[in-house]
Symmetry: C2
Subunit: 543 residues, 2 copies
């Protein structure tokens, strides 16, 4: 209520359904229908199974998306054009440079070091009845191209068609190598099926990292053979556990979709759930000054990271309650015995945990406090996640660490649903207000980052902390908002036209993504009344 129905006459023509929008893009206005005998030819020697599976999945989407164009009449006005449109007979996939870049499964490409991944592709969809062609330097690039290809097609009366042929996308490559989404599976539990459904949706917008905040103070659902007591005592129940097989199933499912997994075991804070099986100080943190605890934690990281194929693992490190240690007699005694102050003990602790990761060839990831609030000897390969505020990125860059943007003021999906603890009925969430897609979409990854520091920005992600979320609301609270960062970090600062990213241009495409997600079984939330979705631009007024 309290609005006037707007009638702005500056309608936006021909909304494309592409998200993220490719770096380069030429489209036309020709209708092209998918031939009833449409085939996909894989011109790849010894094609990996996961590439073949991706082709099957793409063809399934083409047949079952059945997304009617978001326009008044839902495509009925296209009926005439469809009669005379040329049919696209096939899509051919080819790999370039196989001499220098051997053919690997998508899953292998997906877990390589971030800076060496090959995700680019070139795609053409002619409107003259000849074949579409998709080429890339890797199977992962082909997967990205298939994802884009599947976003062009609408349905009207069981005819699959596009209205923007011919299409030419020349070397669409991501602006940033790290494009993530974080899920907290500790505050509330998420069954494997819900994680897999989320991985599917992530892959549709080319998100390539699943940041799995798997344990925390409230629960420890990760079952490790070397530390069975942690999940046995720390999980919410025996059915709310990730077994080693579950973890591998998720890792594999992700990798086949071009998604790496960054697992995080937050430490030394946020570890109350470990206390269910191991003694601890009252503030829910690890006794970081006690040598046996240091060894325990290093062994824990060895166990958890040892089975992860990717290169990155997070030791967390946010919100350390130092006062807790001041009041803990055991800690004070240990500090005396080892001749350290707390900061030095923390350094010892982190060196041990990061050492365990390094021994496995993993790169550690930490939250920003580890470099901004503590004086630690961290490897210069350490990646730092900026979360407290977007303004902290500059300080991290100044210390020459690589950055992943995860700022609460732009990218936290949980803000704005009230305070989950506490007795104050007027209390809002600490990171109020709700972060709309419009707000997130204004994020600038290079704000206050000098030209010399630009190379430090790996990318970024949106995050779902789950104090007030679980499978019951997972889809609508994540999608389509979490696609915002997916475009910021794939497409970069400029649209193919050269214009800067802007919400007015983006909204019709985000509607298209949202409705296609719903067709594919993701309960993505609606952004506006359907009236607005069918009339691109007509509900944009200054509020």
């Amino acid at each position: 209520m309290l609005y006037r129905l707007p009638f702005l006459l500056a309608a936006i023509p021909h909304a494309l359904a592409l998200w993220p929008i490719p770096r380069t893009l030429k489209t036309g206005t020709d209708f092209v229908v998918l031939s009833p005998q449409f085939t996909v030819t894989v011109n790849v020697p010894n094609p990996p199974q996961d590439l073949l599976d991706a082709v099957v999945q793409t063809k399934t989407f083409l047949a079952t998306d059945k997304l009617q164009r978001l326009v008044v009449g839902r495509g009925s006005s296209d009926a005439g054009a469809l009669q005379t449109a040329k049919a696209l007979p096939s899509l051919t996939l080819t790999l370039q440079n196989t001499a220098t870049h051997p053919v690997l499964p998508i899953a292998s490409e997906a877990v390589k070091d971030i800076t060496t991944r090959s995700e680019g592709y070139t795609l053409s969809i002619p409107s003259d009845g000849t074949a579409a062609v998709l080429s890339a330097n890797s199977t992962l690039g082909l997967f990205r191209g298939l994802t884009t290809f599947s976003q062009f097609w609408y349905d009207y009366n069981n005819v699959t068609y596009t209205n923007v042929g011919p299409v030419s996308i020349l070397n669409d490559i991501p602006a940033y190598p790290y494009r993530g989404f974080m899920l907290d599976t500790a505050r509330n539990f998420f069954p494997v099926a819900d994680i897999m459904r989320t991985l599917d949706a992530m892959s549709w917008v080319k998100i390539n990292m699943f940041h799995w905040h798997i344990v925390d103070s409230q629960s420890f659902p990760l079952s490790l053979p070397q530390f069975p007591e942690l999940a046995q005592q720390g999980a919410y129940s025996t059915s709310e556990v990730y077994s080693p097989a579950d973890v591998q199933a998720i890792v594999s499912y992700a990798a086949a979709r071009g998604i790496d997994v960054l697992m995080e075991i937050d430490s030394p804070g946020h570890t109350e759930a470990i206390a269910s099986s191991h003694p601890r100080p009252p503030a829910g943190q690890l006794r970081l000054a006690t040598p046996s605890v240091v060894n325990f934690t290093a062994a824990l990281f060895n166990a958890a990271a040892g089975v992860m194929p990717g290169k990155y693992f997070s030791t967390g490190g946010d919100e350390l309650n130092t006062e807790c240690y001041t009041q803990d007699a055991q800690t004070q005694s240990d500090l005396k015995a080892t001749g350290q102050n707390l900061e030095q003990a923390l350094n010892t602790f982190v060196k041990a945990t990061h050492g365990a990761l390094a021994a496995l060839g993993k790169t550690p990831v930490v939250w920003e406090e580890m470099v901004l609030e503590h004086n630690l000897t961290l490897s210069n390969t350490t990646v730092v996640m900026v979360w407290i505020s977007s303004e902290d990125a500059a300080a991290v860059a100044k210390k020459n660490f690589k950055i992943i943007h995860a700022p609460s003021d732009y990218f936290y999906l949980d803000c704005g649903a009230g305070e989950w603890i506490g007795k104050d009925p007027e209390a809002n969430s600490w990171c109020d207000p709700f972060k709309t897609w419009q707000k997130s979409y204004t994020f600038n990854p290079l704000a206050n980052i000098s030209a010399a520091q630009t190379h430090l920005v790996l990318g970024g992600q949106q995050l779902l902390w789950t104090e007030q979320s679980d499978p019951s609301n997972l889809d609508p609270i994540v999608w389509p908002r979490a696609a915002t960062s997916a475009e910021i970090f794939w497409t970069g600062a400029k649209l193919p036209s050269g214009a800067p990213l802007n919400g007015t241009e983006a909204l019709p495409r985000l509607h298209e993504l949202r409705y296609r997600m719903v067709q594919r079984g993701i309960n993505a939330i609606p952004l506006q009344p359907q009236w607005c979705a069918l009339r691109p631009g007509l509900c944009n007024i200054d509020s």
Copy 2:
């Protein structure tokens, strides 16, 4: 993030799963198991079919809820007590006063005039192996009692049990006769199945009115045989329509669950969708000064209300854009021709629409502007919905109209998800912030209402405006928050103990309701980490 895990030692014992909590309640600490041969005996002469159906549904809930008690161990600590607990053999239903109150179907009781409905019941659940007894003055009262009965039972290892026997509820009657929930099916469409699922959830918390805001400017999904063009042109699509059969199916489904339907056709504003088939002024409103439009609208109400069994129908009347009429030449001409100013023409219009309702024996319901911003000759039976602010209730009471509380500052479920129109990325929803259950739960129906005016307060409701909602997020955005008003208006100001309603006492019960809803297939949102739900009171700290 940004919190410390609290360890308040003032744990709250024995959370009851009852919501709304009965007006009178005595419980114990005995365990009672449901006999494997548990039966329900209906001691009612010629029991109506919907009462028998309700009995079957209750037994189904007892067998399938399988809600494990919200405690660490999820009831494993009850195992020993279950071995020695007495078994409840049966529940007997009886009707009192059948001489003066004839036996009617629940559906008939549910649509009576609000002030004559009989919803009270008396329930006893002994712990000594004798039968439970439920009695009431009407089948609707028995239905309310069955609803309460079904909330007592947990599951552990396939044993159905309660831990609070013996139970005595003596004459639990609602504090207020109107306890509603409003759904807007015009901004986005909701299939019949989603409405029915919502009616189920409403019935579990004794909500007795479904306020169906069925059409508005964005779409007109109501198919009326007398005005087929309205839905043909105004619905989002041919599949996003409520046929006459759909409407009756919903009305019947509701009535069998003790829920009446208050349909609203908002007028003369909010009517842009009528324009798809009928000419209109550019502001999306009806030309209220034109006699043919007045007749059309009166006929529209006659058609829509004529098939509704309940006594109440809303003509809306909010947010009239008077400037629009000033600028409309046709309106100015009509005003001149009929010798009226706009207010007088509005009065003529409303008298006609309300006259159509009165001719059908319906009581009109209007939004507050109709009495607070316009000078109309309304019947003193008119019911006024206060929505702009809770503070406006006093002004409506002063004019001696009956009130339904629907205030945006407490009861609007849609607030806090950003601005759906507009280009401002910093814009929040007009009714920010998000209305938490804690905030809603503090609502006082009698604030600034004198003792002499108390009788004017019929009750209240929470509301979902759906600019940014549709089936994808319906359950989590509505539940369990919409249960807050259900308790405020059933239980009234005081708990059975005599203490005032308070959030600390309520939260464990609201958790129980939420988890039971999930068991019954409603994707109600989690209010806290599961850790907190299993440790009643331990996450309550001042934020």
